[in-house]
């Protein structure tokens, strides 16, 4: 029962941007959707997986983004409409395939939906997928509100099918993860028959073989497609202009920045002075449309996230048009009017616009600003921490202790997942490198070969179960084959926990809830010749012993630390232990303890009672993992198994 399929055409519903994209795909008659989880994109597949049954859809969580693109492309090759959503990093992961797909062309509508994360709100980079559209030479569309998220997605399928080229629909966190009203259109009755034609004329796009060669021919073809895309873009209703006929200044924007521009114009009451050109077709820019607006005034201010992508493209066109329309002043990021890094917001845009219009904008009265600043300093900040009873806290506790005791400056190469927080105090700052998915093990594989140059530090990598399948496997194979000396600690919490427990190849359930075969991480590691040990991270002693043993071994070792995520729906919040602090035994701040549990271990389930000088358990928050009971130096924390 989902609004996505139950909603009535013509009516408006409050949808998340990602749901609007999903609805757009449904209205376009999408058949196959594949992706890899990643904030802010995951809800597109999640919402489609819930309606897969009643729409004859095939939805899958693929092992990584590149594979998901290949899966979706196959559907397109077989004549179906296919969509592939991902977070911005996903485009990097799949770019090798995409570069070839751009030349090989597609058949059924093929839409790539990268969801960028300006400001890196839930990422560790703010990379731009728009660059890829230019690199791959494929059309790029950017919805500027929720209704457009749906409408443009739908249109993207038609465009893709007309051009025989994949089309990018680029979203951002503030659109994907925000909600707004969307009016529904009709859901088509589709019953497509899939079939792959491959024995026609070799260069026939619809019936020949699908390949990027011969390259010069296919590359030329791709440029012809782009030309056609530009023709469509010239007349696209999704490119809009609002404002006076002869404005002092035109704001040029796209995506979520459209909201900020409108807000800024409203806040400054500048609607009769400036115009707003909101572009949805940002690559390639349609030159006739651009010339029309460039001719309207002399000053332009491009508002976009993150890199000055449209600004640069616009400047190229303006230069080419200069003999006809004169020299234009195009402002934005390159001249420092807007920051080159981080996400924008209504305030940044309003202040910048106020500056350009010679206005002063003060969002709050001075005395209010001053007083609230004094008051807010009294509110302690909330730092990021592993959840109460998180297995990662226990895992990194042991990893830290073992490496410190081992005393050879051993270190951890970190990776992507909740355990990324292990670079912070909540993970005892154990991880010392952090890059892309699977890079921890790849970087470790390199470190592990440096003995010949005198490096004798133990090298560890950490990797989650989902990350293992997504991208750590090639790195692990590399380490085994090239005889690197590393220990990979596999933090297996039985799900893609960080993004909301999506399935992965190690689990028995597929994206649509169906039963599927699970692949054993242990068996995979053993089969390639790694030494494998398995431990429960909550069992501190046996985990420590296992890790010490592996650190003595050369070659590739894998320590699988298996404990289900505390938040997992399967866990059902059942406590294993009732935990309590025996106050009379708690050493508190004195020599011999120094508040180990609340000062260092810092599980939110523990409270330091300043007045009593004793630790306590917060019963509401404690999930009963019992780990604090194992680490207390004076056995003051009692754990009783819950019957």
């Amino acid at each position: 029962m989902s609004i996505l399929t139950n909603g009535e055409p013509g009516k408006r519903y409050l949808l998340m941007g990602n749901e609007a994209i999903a609805r757009g795909a449904l209205e376009a008659g999408v058949s196959v959707c594949a992706g890899y989880p990643g904030t802010p994109s995951s809800e597109i597949i999640e919402s489609l997986s819930k309606v897969a049954g009643n729409r004859n859809l095939y939805v899958e969580w693929s092992t990584n983004e590149k594979v998901s693109m290949e899966v979706a492309a196959a559907a397109s090759f077989a004549g179906l409409r296919a969509m592939c959503p991902m977070k911005q990093n996903g485009v990097n992961v799949g770019s090798d395939f995409l570069l070839h797909l751009a030349l090989s062309g597609t058949r059924g509508g093929m839409v790539i939906v990268p969801c960028d994360d300006p400001g890196a709100l839930s990422s560790i980079n703010e990379g731009e997928s728009r660059q890829f559209a230019r690199l791959l030479e494929v059309p790029l569309l950017e919805p500027g509100d929720f209704q457009e998220a749906k409408g443009i997605t739908r249109w993207a399928f038609e465009l893709s099918e007309e051009l025989h080229s994949m089309v990018f629909v680029r979203s951002v966190t503030r659109l994907s993860h925000a909600s707004g009203n969307v009016e529904f259109g009709e859901l088509p009755q589709v019953n497509p028959k899939a079939g792959f034609k491959h024995d026609g004329f070799i260069l026939d796009e619809m019936e020949g073989i699908i390949t990027s060669a011969p390259v010069d021919y296919k590359h030329g073809l791709q440029h012809a497609k782009l030309k056609k895309a530009v023709e469509r873009f010239e007349n696209s209703p999704f490119n809009t202009y609002q404002g006076p006929e002869h404005p002092e200044l035109i704001l040029v924007t796209s995506s979520a920045c459209n909201f900020y521009c409108r807000e800024a114009i409203g806040l400054l009451d500048a609607g009769d002075r400036v115009g707003l050109l909101k572009l949805a077709t940002t690559w390639p820019l349609p030159p006739k449309l651009i010339e029309k607006y460039l001719s309207m005034t002399d000053r332009f201010f491009v508002v976009e996230e993150v890199i000055p992508f449209t600004e640069e493209n616009l400047k190229i066109l303006a230069q080419e048009m200069a003999p006809r329309i004169g020299i234009k002043t195009i402002m934005g990021k390159r001249d420092g009017k807007l920051p080159m890094v981080g996400e924008l917001n209504p305030d940044i845009v309003t202040q910048a616009l106020a500056g350009l219009l010679g206005l002063e904008y003060k969002p709050q009265p001075d005395d209010y600003v001053q007083r609230s600043r004094e008051i807010v300093t009294r509110a302690p900040n909330r730092e990021l921490t592993f959840c109460p009873g998180c297995p990662h806290r226990a895992s990194f506790w042991t990893i830290n202790n073992v490496l410190k005791m081992d005393n050879r400056q051993g270190f951890v190469c970190g990776d992507i997942g909740c355990y990324t927080l292990s670079t912070l105090p909540t993970g005892f700052s154990a991880s010392k490198t952090l890059h892309a998915m699977g890079s921890g093990t790849g970087v470790a594989s390199g470190f592990g070969k440096l003995k010949q140059f005198g490096m004798d530090q133990p090298v560890l990598s950490v990797c989650g179960d989902s990350t293992f399948f997504a991208s750590a496997l090639p790195a692990l194979f590399n380490a085994v084959h090239n005889q690197s000396d590393i220990t990979m600690v596999l933090l297996d919490n039985s799900g893609t926990a960080m993004t909301g427990f999506q399935t992965h190849p190690g689990l028995k359930t597929g994206a649509m809830g169906q039963e599927v075969p699970a692949i054993s991480i242990e068996a995979v590691c053993r089969s390639i010749g790694a030494k494998v040990k398995i431990s429960d991270p909550f069992d501190i002693e046996s985990t420590r012993n296992a890790l010490f043993e592996l650190l003595e071994e050369n070659g590739v070792n894998v320590l699988i630390l298996k404990q289900i995520c505390t938040l997992s729906p399967e866990k059902k919040a059942k406590k294993k232990f009732e935990v309590r602090v025996m106050a009379e035994k708690c050493l508190g701040e004195s020599c011999g303890c120094g508040r180990l549990c609340t000062r260092i271990f810092r599980c939110p389930g523990l409270i330091w009672n300043k007045d009593k000088g004793k630790a306590e358990i917060n019963d509401v928050i404690c999930i009963g993992c019992g780990v604090c009971g194992s680490i207390c130096p004076n056995a003051a924390i009692e754990k009783k198994e819950v019957a």
Partner: protein, 209 residues
């Protein structure tokens, strides 16, 4: 669309709290209730690790016209619903103004630094005074305590929705609530949520508890 005249257009509502307090659900329910009335609603969320003890804030832009930015500009909140006292203060600092109204749940959730004994959490009476100082009107509810009496701390968010409805600033009515909560829950849970909603109306009528 709609003929509804809002006291402010857009009317800017912030629901702020800590990950796990049901903040996102509350904003979605309020959004759906108002959306049913034909109003245009935009909801933005800011989060710093929603399930990991971080601050979570939902911005609701409510208008009889078009969609607004999912982020409210600085100083432009009309109403702040705070599920946690110090988070309420932080939100007031950024989005408050001398005309803002505030409903605050007085159950503190101590950040991990406080738990671990470093900075101290402010005295709750001080917090109330500061919230009053930064708001035109402020109501303080022990929503979590009442919710726990009703069987689940998480119902605190629904009590606060009831309280907001009780202030009659926005066209929020019981039927729309029932419908909106029905999108997430069914059966007995709807009844429990309705009871919490009613409790909130009752509590705000007594000007807090």
């Amino acid at each position: 669309m709609t003929n509804i005249q809002l006291s402010q257009d857009p009317y800017n509502l912030i629901i702020a709290g800590v990950g796990g307090q049901g903040n996102v659900l509350a904003s979605r329910v309020v959004g759906n209730m108002l959306s049913r009335k034909g109003l245009t609603v935009t909801i933005g969320e800011t989060f710093g690790g929603t399930q990991r003890g971080g601050s979570v804030m939902s911005h609701l832009r409510i208008s009889s016209g078009s969609a607004f930015s999912p982020l409210i500009p600085r100083g432009k909140a009309d109403m702040i619903i705070g599920l946690e006292p110090t988070d309420t203060l932080r939100v007031l600092g950024t989005y408050g103004n001398p005309d803002v109204k505030t409903i605050c749940n007085m159950r503190p959730i101590h950040p991990v630094q406080v738990i671990s004994g470093e900075p101290s959490y402010p005295d709750l009476e001080d917090a109330k005074n500061w919230i009053r100082e930064l708001s035109r009107d402020a109501w303080f509810l022990d929503a979590t305590d009442v919710a726990m009496e009703m069987g689940a701390a998480i119902l605190g968010n629904i009590i606060l929705i009831g309280a907001l409805a009780g202030l009659n600033e926005l066209p929020l009515d019981r039927e729309d609530f029932e419908n909106a909560i029905g999108l997430t829950f069914s059966g007995e849970k709807v009844q429990v949520n309705l009871a919490a909603y009613d409790k909130g109306i009752e509590m705000i009528a007594r000007n807090g508890r």
